[in-house]
């Protein structure tokens, strides 16, 4: 009941804010000092010093076939934050989640982004604090800018996500680069169990992780027509993972485990490749990524096991039927509140996330110390419509079909069902 109250309160508040925003926005830019409301409420202290308040709430109404025991009405995300400029040399950002404790009291949850960036030069910018590691095109895209309600599985389970660290990044003309060193190996790869320390042993830290990504328009030099505007990139991460039941694991779109963690020890490496092409109102994006985790001394007899591998890929296409240009900041040609239809975009994505061992000989078992792991994968097809009604609001409608390779590790084991349909209507409110 109280959970429902939080959801409804946030929904109502968010709607009031977005109705108020256009009115407040009427006064923007008359005076660039003091309180202004451009894209979001902002306090301007001077030409290059400001403080912007930002917030986002994402609500969902969902349907499952067959039923897998999930709530129908779901508050996906609620966050508040601040960002701003500190002279023309520094940008900064703070964002935190709003959630409930076990007594249903509304509290601040996990810190998301807390970082500052020195950006005097385009060729080298230095960022420090907590932010997303440079791996995974979709993972490093903000949740409110995604083309689908949910990221592809690889983006949330192989890509590392946020961590605390330092990163250098820059624009070298044809190439952008990012290279960073991080404390651990990202939120998405957090260890599952407390580290077990034998007598006389020291606690071993995860990481430090190193992450590198290079993106460029390398196709520009090839005779490939309009494809010359596409960006391609490659990425790599490397970290040390201490002994334990700490591998990456497989979760379905709705969080059901289809591959449990296995025992790992040694290096965790990730390899990634990305493709991004946005000609006019359409876009075509694709990613491939793989993680390889060592299992040194992890057999029942303390011998090395074969590498544990997770592979993921997706191909996604979108098209604005209302003609807007597909770029990182879609400008709605005819917003709903100004009498227009808003921006309407069709989207489709096919993806797969799978787990396996490098060894494929010998008896295959799901035992987390077995050399030959029984593989499992989730192949997902998503189609959707995105309706951007204003710069602050967007409605996403998705139909999702999941198909699991191993029925015994599907959301409804023992039923013979490997395929699942689900649908959702998402309301994104972002300022």
């Amino acid at each position: 009941m109280k959970r429902a109250r939080l959801k409804h309160t946030l929904l109502l508040t968010s709607l009031l804010v977005i109705i108020a925003v256009p009115v407040a926005a009427q006064t923007k830019k008359k005076d660039r000092r003091g309180f202004v409301w451009d894209d979001r409420p902002t306090i301007v202290f001077g030409e290059d010093i400001n403080l912007e308040i930002k917030g986002r709430t994402l609500f969902e109404w969902r349907k499952f076939d067959p039923d897998i025991g999930e709530d129908i009405f779901h508050l996906r995300t609620a966050r508040v934050g601040m960002k701003g400029k500190l002279t023309k040399h520094f940008d900064w950002e703070i964002e935190r989640e709003i959630t409930e404790d076990k007594n249903k009291k509304v509290i601040f949850g996990a810190w998301k982004d807390v970082n500052i960036e020195w950006n005097t030069f385009d060729a080298i910018k230095i960022r420090g604090g907590r932010f997303k590691m440079p791996f995974g095109m979709e993972q490093t895209t903000g949740i409110s800018d995604l083309d689908f309600a949910y990221r592809a599985l690889g983006s949330t389970q192989i890509a590392p996500g946020r961590d605390r660290g330092m990163m250098a990044a820059g624009d070298l003309g044809r190439f952008n680069y990012e290279i960073g060193v991080f404390d651990d190996d990202g939120d998405n790869a957090e260890s599952n169990e407390p580290q077990f320390v034998r007598e006389g042993e020291d606690l071993k830290a995860v990481g430090p992780a190193v992450a590198v990504r290079v993106i460029g328009d390398v196709l520009r030099v090839l005779p490939v027509g309009r494809l010359r505007s596409a960006n391609v990139g490659i990425a790599y991460t490397n970290s040390e993972v201490p002994e334990g039941l700490n591998s990456l694991r497989g979760e379905s779109v709705w969080g059901k485990h289809f591959f449990e963690r296995v025992y790992v020890k040694g290096r965790r490496q990730r390899y990634g490749a990305q493709f991004d092409w946005s000609p006019g109102p359409a876009s075509l994006k694709a990613e491939w990524m793989q993680s390889r985790e060592d299992r040194k001394e992890q057999s029942n007899r303390d011998q090395d096991l074969s590498t544990f591998i997770a592979d993921a890929w997706y191909v996604a296409g979108t098209w604005f039927i209302t003609g807007e240009d597909k770029d990182n900041n879609v400008k709605v040609k005819s917003p709903l509140l100004e009498g227009g239809p808003g921006a309407i975009e069709l989207a489709a994505r096919i993806e797969r996330l799978g787990f396996r061992s490098a060894a494929t000989t010998g008896l295959a078992f799901t035992n987390p110390r077995n050399d030959n792991q029984v593989p499992n994968s989730d192949t997902v097809f998503t189609i959707g419509v995105n309706w951007t009604t204003s710069k602050w609001t967007r409605v996403i409608v998705n139909a999702i079909h999941e198909d699991f390779e191993d029925q015994a590790r599907s959301p409804l084991p023992g039923t013979g069902t490997t395929s699942f349909w689900s649908g959702l209507v998402r309301l994104n409110i972002v300022f």
């Binding site: 077990f196 034998r198 002994e243 025992y263 001394e297 992890q298 057999s299 029942n300 007899r301 303390d302 008896l363 078992f365 799901t366 035992n367 987390p368 110390r369 077995n370 015994a408």
Partner: protein, 409 residues
Amino acid sequence: MLRYAVVIFTVVLACAVPASAQSSDDLFNPDVLQRIDLWLNSADWEKLKANFQENTYYPAQLNWNGITVENVGIRSRGLGSRRGTKPGLRVDMDHYSTGQHFLGLKSFVLDNLSQDPSGIRETVTMRFFTRLGIPAPRETFCRLYVRGVYVGLYGLVESVDKTMMGRVFGEINGNLQNDGYLFEYNYVLGSPWRFNYEGSDLAPYKTRFDIKTNESHGDVKIWGPIEELVRLVNNTDVSQWDAIVGARVDLPEFVRYIAAQNFTAQNDGFNGYDGMNNFFFYRLEDSTKNVFIAWDEDVGFLQPDFGITTRLDENVLTRKTLSVSTYASQYFSALLEAADNASDWMRGEMQRQFDMINDAMIADPVKLWTVDEYQAEKVKLLAFPDARITYVRCEVAKTAGSPRPAGCQ
């Protein structure tokens, strides 16, 4: 050529026989001190011992008598018997591999013998109960080796599960008795229970009776009949006992069970010092009838003069059943039958088991008792059968008002 063929055939046969011809009867053969080898990652064995209060499973390889089972799951087990230095273990064949069996078993228990300095109380009791026709698990002993190192003498105990129910009860009306409702009685510390009615809410019964089969069935189907049984036991007049309670409990089997527990001077059983404890309860398949299954009899043989009516008036089911003259008479007859059965068997069996485990017990690197304590228990236990037989016969005669046999005080 023929000679080579014969030699090869003989070698192949010799290798194949140990693996193929063995059964769970061989594993639990009471005449054999077995050797069990478990291979698990060194970190897991350390973790299991450090976190012995948790039920976390660890993968392992099991070796017994030439048979290897990959991918078994082991975990710490027990209630008051849990120890970090010498953990009791449950070995599950199908935890990581659905449907995997070992000699037809889904699991077995490695009892760390942590509550019995003699080591043999439980194995003697279970064999004795089986002789009296009371459902009890098969047991023997094993030397347990973990990663090739001897880690102690353990009891090797058959799990009370569907497989055992099928073995014990066989087919009734053409139906193999392996799909009824099996419960392990859960002793709740600080809340002794003696079959008193606890109301129509199923929660207290769910707490006390852990379901082990058909777990996916609804609460009413699983625990409803237990609530009904307890209510009827408390509310039924003894004049209708057979018709109403007898339709739900195998009363003759129940009387033999409590008589056998009394004979072995079991102070922590069904009529225990702190309420009921240490048993399984099985509702037969397609039936309303329940039976009791012996479990965890490792603190018996308390003293030879343990009263033959000790606490019989405390438990509602015991008291009201024995207030029916037929069952009271059966109870004393069962005591005498137990005495007769024990007279030409129990002391010899104790001696045989001591001889079998003696070296392994003394060599146990993490035994929880000194050798002197073990030897003292040995002497005490070996003196029990003769004294107990005499005491029980004398007391039954005294109760019945019949002539007292020789040796009575």
